[in-house]
Every structure is written in C-alpha cells, then in structure tokens.
Amino acid sequence: MSQSAIRLWMGLGFGAMAIYMPNLVTLPYFMHLIILALVWVILAQGQNLMQGLVGYVSITQAGFMGVGAYFSTLLTLKLGCSVWLTIFMTPFFTGLLSVLVGYPSLRVKGHYFAIVTLAYNMVIFTILLTFSSVTGGEAGISNIARPSSFSLWGYVIDFEGRSNSNYYLLVLLLAALSTGICGFILHSRVGRVFLAIRQNEVLADAIGIQSWRYKLFAFVMSAALAGLAGALYAHYIGFLNPEPFGVDQSLNAILAVILGGSGTLTGPVVGAFAVTFLPEYLRIADSYRLVTYGFILVIATIFLPRGLVPVAKDLYLFLISLLPKRK
C-alpha cells in the first residue's frame, strides 16, 4: 500500500471510531472531557495558523474565544435569536473584530506582536469583568440554551443534557471541518506563503508578497475559529463568566500547539487533548499545577521543540525502516 492509501485508511478508521465513541465511553465525565477537548481542537487549530504556520505567537486566543462565547450567548438571551444562527454568526463577528485589532498590531514583529495581542486579551478580560450590566461580570450568565432540537428522517435529534452524544457529534463535525479548512490552507498557495513568512519575512516582502495581507488573513481565520470554539463552549457548559477567557487559557492554547507539534495538522489535535486531559491527572497535585505546567512548557521547548507528532512520526518511520524490505 502506498503512503497516501495508508493515511486514507487510518483517517477513515479514526473517523469511524470517533463517531462510534459515545457508545464506547460509559463514563459521562469522560465524555464531557472529550467534548471540551474537541472544542479545544478548534481553538488550537486557530492558534496553529498564526503560531505554527506564520510564526507569530498570538496570546489572545482565549480572549477571542470569550468574545465568541459572550456574543453568541447575548444574542440568544437578549435578542432571542436561534442558537443555530448565533453559532453560525459568531465566527464572522470575531473575524471582523480581529481585522480591527489585527491591523495595527501586525505592524510590529515577533515578540512585540505577542505582547500586543496579550494586551488585547487583558482588555477583553477587563471589559468582560467590569461591563457587568451586559456581561454579568464575575457572577456571570447562567441558563444558556443549547441548540434547539430538530427531526431528521423521523428521528428527533436533541441536544439537552450533560455529555450529550448529539452535541458531541456536532462538535466533532465542526472540529473536523476546522481541521479540514486548516489542512486546505496548509496545502494551498496561501499556506506556502505563510511558511515563507515564517522563514524569512523580509525576503517574502522582497519578492513581491504583501506579507501583511497574509498575516492578517491568518489572524482573522484564527480569531474566527476561536470564536466558534467559544460559542460551542458557551452553549455546551450553559454558564459563562470571564474566568476561562483569561491570559492563562491563551497560554494553554500555545502549549497545546507546542506540545502537539506546531505547523502540523494533527499536532494541535493531539495537543488539545493533552491540555484537556493533563490537568485532570495533575489535579492530585493541584497547588503544584501551575509550576508543573510551566515546567512542562519550558522542558518541551528546550528538548522537544518540534512537538509530539513530528517525533512520533520520525519514530514510526524509523521502525518501518527496521522492517525487512520486500524485494
């Protein structure tokens, strides 16, 4: 079998397993974590576009997630819009917002871009916290609706209840779609330009690429994905306060990309699951959690700068090369 055929079959098998997952997992809490991890896949794919492909670390992913979460929630609560409509609209709204904030901040490079985006995250957090007449402030908003049920070929598909398997499938579908879009970008001409900017922006400019346009596009796409993740999160959890949208969570998104493998398509997926499940296992040492987390980030950057996926791939290729060759 050729390399691409193996990949296709692996993908199909994986997809079938993912769809069948709710029947395998009996523990509702585990299912709950998987849904959260899938939301994080969307977030991390967005982060990867900027961090892994263009090479600009943006520290505002959780901020945009928060904007998306509150936008979708407030539209449904205050204006009575349908949840389906608001989930659909959210990526466009956060994307639009990111054009406004991305344009000035993309004038600075490297570290300073990171700092400026971090400042955005802090502004968003402060506004969510202090503008309490709309956002509910620290106390937050509760009783956020799930998407309304609909019937398909005679079956009623509803989304109520914790660790709902239909909501799981919805999030799975959107996570797969986001990964697909990112894969499409990665393999298109735009993706090549991203990589060129990452490697040498001055050179890219010199050969006639208007790199700011591509950087802005990556930033907008990443914000749109973050917004989508936020909306899915809000309608799943049913309760919102500013806490999950602070800088810590943006750092978590960076960690997901680094840990999984930046610049790869499967890296953010692996990373998203890692950062969702790792804290659950680190919970035994709750007071050491922050230190451990920081330590993992430092150690991973020093010793595993390419992330888990590329290393696993190398290992796989190495093992394949050990197999006896067919003549």
């Binding site: 400026v116 050491y288 922050l290 950057t301």
Partner: protein, 285 residues
C-alpha cells in the same frame, strides 16, 4: 487645576516603578533579543521577599530591599543559565515560549512560597506635606527618589564601566563583540543579574506603594512592554519617558474617567503609538 497636579504627582510615583520594570526589560531585549516576560513575576517575587525579610529579621525597608535585590540577581543568573541559555541559537519564538513557561512557574512558586494573600509592605514613610494646596505623600517622593538613584546608577554603569562597555558592544553587534574578545556568555549573565535586581526593586516599591498579590506580575510585565513600545525598543531614555507618560496617563484616567478602566489605558496608548509611530516616541526609524 490642583486635581490635575495631584494626579500627575501620583502618576509620577507609579510611573517611576514602570521605568524600573521597563529598564530591566529593555537591557535584556537589547542584549539577548529576548522578551523576558517572566520579569513581572520576578518583580513580584522580589516584593514578597522584601516583605518576608522585613518581617523575619525586623530590619528597615531599604536594607531588606537590598537583600532581596541580591536574591533577585541570583535568581536572574539561574533563569539565564537554565532556561534561556539552552535556546539561544533556536528561533526567537522558542525563547518567548520559554518566557511564558517561566512566568507560569514563577507565579506558581510565588503562590506556593508566599500564599495567595495580598501583601502590603509597611514603611515608616507615612508623612504628608502640603505644598501649594497639593498633598504630597512622603512615600511617593521616596519611591520617585529611589527610582532616580537606581536609574542613575544603571546609566553610569552602562556608560562608564568596562562591563558597561561590553554590554553596549554586544547590544550593537553581537558577532563583532565576540570577535573583539568580549565574553558574550558572561555579559548575558551580568545583564540578567542587573535586570532582575532592578525588577526586584520595582516589586518592593510596588509592595510599599500599592500591594502585591498573585497575578499582579503579569500585568506589570505587560505594562513594562507597553512602556518599551511607547518609548522605542532598546532605548533607555525612551523607557524613562515612556514609563512616566504611562504612569501619569493612568493616574489621570483613574482620577477623571474610571478606575475600573485604568489598566485599559496602557493598552490604548500602546495601540495608538503602534498605529501612528510604530518605532516609538524616542525610537529611531
């Protein structure tokens, strides 16, 4: 009118602390090209350490601050060697991610070592003078004065000593400095020690002026970078001017608009500068 003077004076005191933070950041950035984001948390560590030393041994504020500065310098050496040194040849993005990891570690360690309570360092400088209708708190004057002394000392060190000369040489051209026999590895250690000591001093002053609490460090680091962007990257006069401007505009915002949005001002100013003068107020094009 008097209100404006009053607020500017308050702003100058907090601005002086921003100057100290920004100075530490700007020397590290100038020499190593690292955005040392953990600097704010190092500063908070210093504030806590000063508080602890004062409580434990009952010694005066400035002695405790001196001891904490030595401790901070040692911490800076460790950070440089163990965390930044291994990635000095890797892409800059890696160093920045390490800085983020260090921030988390420092914040976590502060939490473990000193607890989650807010700490205010008690100083004997509680007097208030009245000059032409303006209330001048003695503490604010002392903070401004301390910052002036430290800034002066650093400027002298960089301008007059042999170490300062090698620091400037590395900042100007790393490769040429190596060829001229400057021990670059040593220089980066010295720079980290100086920068961390400055940060610790800033943390102690913040502790006396306002309060130290978990999470303050990150905000401080972001403001430090806002000051750098405001003043121009790698420029010491820029860091001083930027710090004072930020401090005063924050105080004005707190006094005349709303104290809840005080912290947003720093970012607004930063975004405006980026839009209209991306090289900073005193930076070179």
């Amino acid at each position: 009118m008097i209100e404006i003077f009053q607020q500017s004076l308050n702003g100058l005191a907090i601005g002086a602390v921003y100057v100290l933070i920004a100075l530490g950041l700007t020397v590290v950035f100038g020499i190593l090209g690292i955005a040392h984001f953990a600097h704010g948390s190092v500063a908070m560590f210093g504030g806590y350490l000063t508080f602890l030393v004062m409580e434990k041994f009952g010694i005066p504020f400035f002695t405790a601050m001196g001891i904490a500065m030595v401790g901070g310098a040692a911490l800076g050496l460790v950070i440089e060697r163990l965390a930044y040194h291994p990635v000095q040849d890797a892409p800059h993005i890696n160093a920045f991610i390490i800085a983020l990891g260090l921030t988390m570690m420092m914040e976590g360690m502060n939490l473990l070592m000193f607890g989650a309570d807010q700490v205010v360092i008690q100083t004997p400088y509680r007097g208030v003078f009245h000059i032409a209708g303006i209330a001048v708190a003695e503490l604010r004057l002392i903070v401004i004065l301390t910052a002036c002394v430290l800034v002066g000392a650093i400027t002298l060190l960089i301008a007059k000593t042999k170490t300062g000369k090698s620091i400037r040489a590395v900042a100007q051209n790393r490769q040429a400095a190596i060829l001229m026999g400057v021990n670059v590895s040593m220089v980066s250690l010295v720079v980290f020690a100086i920068s961390s000591a400055l940060g610790v001093a800033a943390g102690a002053l913040i502790g006396a002026l306002l309060a130290i609490a978990p999470g303050v460090g990150e905000g401080l680091a972001v403001k430090g970078f806002a000051v750098l962007i405001l003043g121009g990257l790698g420029s010491i006069p820029g860091a001083i001017a930027g710090g004072l401007i930020l401090g005063v505009s924050e105080a004005m915002a707190a006094g005349f608009i709303s104290s809840a949005y005080k912290d947003v001002i720093a970012f607004l100013v930063m975004i405006l500068v980026l839009l209209f003068r991306p090289e900073g107020l005193l930076g070179k094009r």
